[in-house]
Symmetry: C2
């Protein structure tokens, strides 16, 4: 056998590893879709990348469109788990609020800038017109729950007197926007690897602005 796919090389041995053909195919599909785009990607290439015969791909996923959906769904679940883990850190009540927010912001940015995250967003943008339901998959499984969870934490911090948000959901959206918006140009839509200190600078600036707007204030006449 001349060559095995990169996913197979990274993952289980492939020949001996009995089970995870399915997962190997999902990983390979993401890699190939991200590299060549969904339309340009060939099922042959996906199979080769997974170290698997083409028929096996069609056994697990009826057709190409279904493979796309499953790939995006699996990736959304993974992204959701990572983001929820980060947002959960806001439950720590002891730390200094600014430091805490900067830490959470930095971690969120690292998730946002992960190759997989960029691949997911690019795939979604590219195929949203052809397959509008992809957006429901991604937002329902990943984006919306994260924003809601963040809004929950901001509301708790407001009740605790450490923040001042009238509309926690809007505040959560703006916090995310301040983080991710400035990243889009710097990351060149995911084609440039942003160094960590640049991430830190963006997170710091975002938290600065956010706290100026939403830090707890004793009173205010408006």
């Amino acid at each position: 056998m001349g060559e095995a796919g990169a996913a197979a090389r990274r993952g289980q041995v492939g020949a001996r590893g009995r089970i995870d053909k399915r997962q190997a195919i999902l990983d390979a599909a993401l890699t190939v879709f991200a590299r060549e785009g969904y339309a340009q990607a060939g099922m042959d290439v996906v199979a080769a990348e997974a170290g698997v015969a083409k028929a096996t791909v069609y056994n697990h996923f009826h057709d190409k469109e279904n493979l796309l959906r499953q790939t995006i769904a699996a990736l959304s679940d993974q992204v959701l788990a990572e983001n929820l883990g980060v947002v959960g850190r806001l439950a720590d009540q002891g730390e200094d609020l600014r430091d805490l927010l900067e830490d959470v912001g930095l971690r969120l940015l690292r998730c946002y800038c992960a190759d997989q995250s960029w691949a997911l967003r690019r795939l979604l943008s590219a195929e949203i017109v052809q397959f509008p339901d992809l957006l429901d998959i991604v937002h329902g499984r990943a984006a919306d729950p994260v924003t809601e969870a963040l809004a929950d934490r901001l509301a708790r911090l407001t009740v605790a007197g450490r923040l001042s948000t009238r509309d926690p959901l809007m505040a959560a959206e703006q916090f995310c926007s301040l983080l991710t918006g400035p990243m889009d140009k710097r990351a060149r839509l995911g084609t440039r690897q942003v160094p960590d200190d640049e991430l830190r600078a963006v997170a710091r600036a975002a938290v600065d602005t956010f706290l100026q707007a939403f830090a707890a204030k004793p009173a205010r006449n408006g």
Copy 2:
């Protein structure tokens, strides 16, 4: 002749209108690329949409890839002109600053939510990996000049004592982020038409947060 393309119908008469075959093709290409995606779009379809023979398309644009580049470049120029016009309104020094910013924000959002803008961003995301130079075309011609122009206006407003920005470029990026970030979900990547009062609400919230962070302050100890 059974049917003429939608672009020809919208634009010049097509048969009698001598010149703008080229522009008709560019318009048609954008329409078709936006509707079906670059890879799925057929040159036959573009030609038909433009009300033009396929050979004519190849006369004006050597091949499909070149057509994509020209389409994106032309669209970027158009988007740039619209955005610069909006940002230019910040030169009015008389008006109330909050009203002025909200007005500019609203107009920027209208540009951001135009079908063409969404089509441009989706095309860019989809093909950025295949054609990395597309990003230079768009950012160089549209995105970067707009941010710079906005930063210029914010700097002038700071010098005039109406704002307090230490880093006008970062402030400009954050202003745009506060506007566009919350729109992405609401517009469902351009597949949903956002009503005008929703745009107004987002602009209002963005300006609220922005002014809390960057309104002119007499002094500050930190």
